[in-house]
């Protein structure tokens, strides 16, 4: 067991405090840098996609995991980010400006969508955002003069200072860099004033209000930040698919993002990354499993949907804290190794608690 013991103010501010942290994250960094040369081409593309999904699920985690606002419509923000970025690039705006503008514009749209969050909460908000996502999908499909309708529009390759980053390896590193930037920004945001206000709003609005936290403001702020980050993920997603069509941003993508956040473990950035990695790899794992299944099952179109549902159901029933919870439990088991008790992580009995009047 290790207890933090601060000897100076800077000690408490450090992100990587112990030598073990440096070692573990250093090893991870080395693996990620070496990966494009080790992995086969297909898996480098998959890894890039995972990074993009990590950014999107980090965005959703801010609003669902930390502020407690449920959004079933984040695919809409991915779509808005992707189309804004593509249109700006096509108009000749440089890549860096364009991706930032895409994030800002999506954030502004998120501000508008977040406004109802002041009045409605819980599952009602989930319905508002879901309806919003369906409407955005329809608008994107119908507004042919701008979005190209269902035929879609091609995405220009990413160019920074004259270097073309469209090839597989440079794009891998571009996505990795964006993911790291977003992660660093969020870690610092969430341990600062705003992040603690978010958690306060999530855990008890009444308590937060009595501490002088402006609830409406922080709810909308969380929504806006979340939408902005998801918009950036959308911009990268546009480069990944190279041809944006409305089908890529269906309700299914929204639900996938929610599942990532849920499976990863609500309320932790590490969980968002775990969830994104797990869910993005699931289709690959299923298709790798197919040769071992009976033909009758393997050839079917609904297998993937079924497995997604099964995994989600098992997580909610048996590990509500998600992958991150499992990780923390493993870690504490190892750190307290000989002193293991059978009931350490047994869940207490819970009773029905009405949320109808919240």
């Amino acid at each position: 067991m290790r207890f933090p013991y601060n000897t100076s103010y800077r000690d408490a501010q450090k992100l990587l405090r112990y030598r073990a942290d440096w070692l573990a994250y250093g090893l991870l960094a080395a693996v990620l840098i070496a990966a494009p040369w080790i992995l086969p081409r297909y898996y480098v593309g998959e890894a890039t996609y995972i990074f993009i999904m990590c950014v999107a699920s980090l965005g959703l985690m801010v609003v669902t995991g930390f502020t407690g606002q449920i959004s079933f419509g984040h695919a809409a923000f991915v779509a808005i980010g992707a189309y804004t970025h593509t249109l700006l690039l096509t108009a000749g705006v440089p890549f860096i400006v364009s991706i930032i503008l895409a994030g800002v514009f999506t954030g502004l749209i998120g501000l508008l969508v977040g406004l109802p969050a002041i009045r409605v909460s819980g599952l009602h908000l989930a319905m508002v955002t879901m309806a919003f996502a369906i409407i955005v999908e329809q608008i994107v499909g119908r507004w042919k003069s701008v979005t190209g309708g269902f035929t879609g529009i091609p995405v220009p390759p990413p160019r920074i200072f004259g270097f073309d980053l469209g090839a597989q390896k440079p794009f891998y590193f571009l996505c990795l860099a964006v993911l790291l930037a977003v992660l660093a920004a969020l870690v610092n945001l969430l341990r600062g004033h705003a992040g603690r206000a978010f958690v306060g709003v999530r855990d008890s609005e009444a308590a937060a209000l009595s501490l002088g936290i402006w609830i409406a403001g922080y709810k909308v702020l969380a929504f806006s930040i979340s939408a902005g980050i998801t918009g950036i993920a959308g911009a990268l997603f546009a480069h990944h698919v190279q041809f944006v069509t409305p089908e890529g941003f269906s309700l299914l993508l929204s639900l996938e993002l929610v599942i990532m956040v849920m499976i990863g473990g609500l309320g932790s950035l590490r969980g968002a990354v775990f969830g994104a990695v797990f869910i993005s790899l699931l289709p690959t794992a299923i298709s790798a499993m197919k040769p071992f299944l009976p033909d009758r099952v393997a050839g079917q179109f609904g297998l993937e949907t079924f497995v997604f549902g099964l995994v989600l159901a098992l997580f909610i029933l048996f590990e509500p804290m998600g992958l991150n919870g499992r990780w923390l439990k493993l870690k504490s088991l190892f750190s307290a190794f000989p002193l293991y008790r059978k009931d350490t992580f047994r869940r207490g009995k819970t009773y029905m608690k009405s949320e109808r009047y919240r």
Partner: protein, 294 residues
Amino acid sequence: MESHVVQLVQLCLNGIAIGAIYALVALGLVLIYKATEIINFAHGDILMASAFVGWGLITIAGLPFWLAALVTMLLAAALSYVLEARVLRVIVGQPQFAGAMLTLALAFMLRGAVSMAFGPTSRTFPTPWTGQTTHLGPLVIADLNLVILVAALVITALLFFFLRRTSVGISVQAASQNQLAAYLCGIPVKRLNSMVWAMAGAMAAVGGLLLAPIALVDIGLWYVVLKALAALVLGGFGSIPGAIVGGLLIGIVEQLAGVYLPDGFKDVMAYLVLIGVLVLWPRGILGEAHGRRV
């Protein structure tokens, strides 16, 4: 009558028929919500699965329509009963979000299972009323629409009778108002909750069997649950009469939007109504007013 008035009335009639199905689905959702405080996202998939089972019983097993309908309803009821008793009861006491996600997971599993069992092609089955119409002055009404309306009315009436006049129904109401108090009065809350789910499942099966001849027996039928949510919000969340009013209104609005508004509005009208109502008027038409507890 002038032609555009005839058209308007005709559209409203069609809208009422579709709306009756939305109302049926919304009714199932509201029953489940009142009993267990879960928004059942799997409701639409139970409906879709029932439509497929009904198709199988009628065209493959060759059963007569009524028998097939009865068997389908029983199967859907049994499925819902088991889901509540064996799966959803495990997460009692966890936040509402967990319940919503669990039903979503069940929805995915049902959808996957149905598309694995039946394949992605859409199909249709015959009913006793297919292709028949009734003329009422200048209006032409498909008999199927009348049957839908009658079925919805009968189910609503039965439900009202059940909840208001029978002792089991009153127990259901008591349990939905305060589970602990109901339990202390000797009401078997767990069994009642499972029973409410079974009733909702049977209603979903009726909805599926009535909707399939209008739409098609297709995986996409589950989408009706989203329309039903819009109906529920419009009518006032958690109100049984509200679910019916909301469903009928959504059906009519959709039909009118399809003709009088630009192309594409028909598909999103229900969702526009949902957002508008929740933002401007969260109580809905018949919703109960309640304050916020600390």
